[in-house]
Symmetry: C2
Subunit: 315 residues, 2 copies
């Protein structure tokens, strides 16, 4: 019996895969070595989930891995037509980030309602200035993206008594379809982008969508930078089409110090960290080991991505 | 039939008491005029809830109002032995602040767990620095104060899947007694002060109590400044006995620009605003009008303070 080869596209710190000893030959590569190593890999673990090396290296010579797993919820960074058309199974880190991201969104919603950024500014200025803040109970949220992350966000906002609607690609019980999107965001106090980045969702939050929103609305993106036309958001904030926004993800990451986004008034910028709570890397490693055990035993994999749609189809 | 006189200890903006027209003679006073006007008042509305004028003016000559209502949850600022010993009924603004304060506490808990203050600092510095944050689900909170505010805080934290214990003066179902306090705060990730300020609670959060807490614990005070020995808190933060704190209330308010508290590392300072959401003053005015209608009709008042204990006894 041949021991399968697991090729890891590395990022620091490396995954802890000790449990695979004797059951897999674990090899490591950086972006530069990926194309050369792919033919000898049975499995590719995309540990460096910020890398765009997979779609560059995939359309090459020789055999391809039978299975690709990415340590991320989104798969936009690794898909290419050749991978989509192949027999290779793609899985993702579905589940690991749901609760942390939902809490992060709740933190932003509450911080904006309670004017916490201004409070911290005034503290720096040693200025006591009482302001009225907003009650979140009874406000309305629209969560765009009905996967596990969007659903967990919705559940968390509902627990704070926020009336929350969920929008997905396919309308079903508890989930609105795309036809309802404009109507829902036009009434929402909070619009949350939690959709996968696909051809359908790229740039969906543009000038027209910000124009539809209420002047009192706040927009939060924890999905993928490409969901938002960043310049349109900056303009919408400048024109006060909406009252505030928070971006945790960006078209180009990391933001350089020269990005104008750091200084857009009313915009909170964070470094793609919404899902990353203490222990997250260990959870991602353990999740891969569990999936590997299923795969090696010939049992069906979980978290299998629909490569045409670009996400794991949900309930 | 004589129309009762309602004397308002004023603060800007004045309460909207139009609904009392023809049913009460509404008169206004500032702090300086209070002592002189008290004998002609049937009812005193302490609209300026930051004023300490009532305990100074109360022990005077002539009749006293039969009823004193304060537009605040705490009554510490108006009690004096003579008022406590008198037949005058004291009522408070029970209920108005519960939900806003609970949301404010949730905002602070989540902001601290997600390291939001540091994110805002890094944004000012245009620095992209990913950090791991904390999951709040599964952490432990201890809410000290089992009145409506403390109970609403506990309910809100539980909705975020935080294991929350409530401590009150009298142990009962769902409420721990003072004997459990040290044990509970020694295990808590979040300690929330939401108790009334009384002889029993003054200075209860002192060096010894901060020493009992975990180095990873955060402390939040939205009750009254006097619950905390402020210097002890600053020392506890400097010595890293606890990981962070947020104060919305202070021994002396407003803080002057010279207060050292503005610059204590790890301390979030806000200007006594946790309960004050848009429309709060109208709610306070409407609540007084409702109580007045009961009183004028000879029906029993609500929110009646136990003047010996210093708060409205609860369930």
């Amino acid at each position: 019996m041949t021991i399968p080869t697991v090729l890891v596209l590395d990022a620091e710190p490396l995954p802890r895969l000790g449990r695979l000893t004797g059951r897999a030959r674990v090899e490591h590569t950086d972006e530069a070595g990926l194309a050369e190593r792919l033919p000898s890999a049975d499995v590719l673990l995309v540990w460096d989930f910020a890398s765009r090396a997979v779609p560059s290296a995939w359309p090459g010579e020789g055999p391809r891995p039978r299975w690709v797993h990415t340590a991320s919820a989104g798969v936009d960074h690794l898909m290419c037509p050749e991978l989509a058309a192949s027999d290779t199974v793609v899985t993702n880190a579905r589940g690991v980030f749901d609760q942390p991201i939902a809490e992060y969104v709740a933190a932003l919603v509450l911080a904006m309602a309670k004017d916490l950024p201004r409070t911290l500014e005034l503290q720096r200025e040693r200025t006591w200035r009482h302001r009225e803040s907003q009650r979140v109970a009874g406000t309305r949220a629209c969560v765009v993206g009905s996967g596990p992350i969007g659903r967990t966000i919705a559940r968390t906002l509902k627990a704070l008594d926020i009336n929350t609607a969920l929008v997905g690609r396919t309308p079903r019980t508890g989930v609105h379809g795309p036809d309802d999107l404009d109507r829902l965001i036009s009434r929402a106090d909070w619009v949350i982008a939690a959709a996968p980045l696909t051809e359908q969702t790229r740039g969906m939050f543009d000038a027209r969508r910000f124009d539809v929103m209420q002047p009192s609305a706040r927009f939060i993106n924890i999905g993928r930078g490409g969901l938002v036309v960043e310049q349109d958001l900056a303009d919408a904030l400048a024109k006060r089409w909406i009252a505030g926004a928070a971006l945790d993800v960006f078209e180009h990451e990391p933001l350089t110090p020269y990005s104008p986004l750091w200084r857009v008034p009313g915009l909170i910028v964070s470094p793609h960290m919404s899902g990353d709570t203490v222990g997250w890397r260990d959870e991602l490693g353990a999740q891969f080991v569990e999936l590997y055990e299923r795969w090696a035993a010939g049992r069906p994999l979980l978290n299998v991505v629909d490569k045409q749609r670009g996400y794991v189809p949900g309930r």
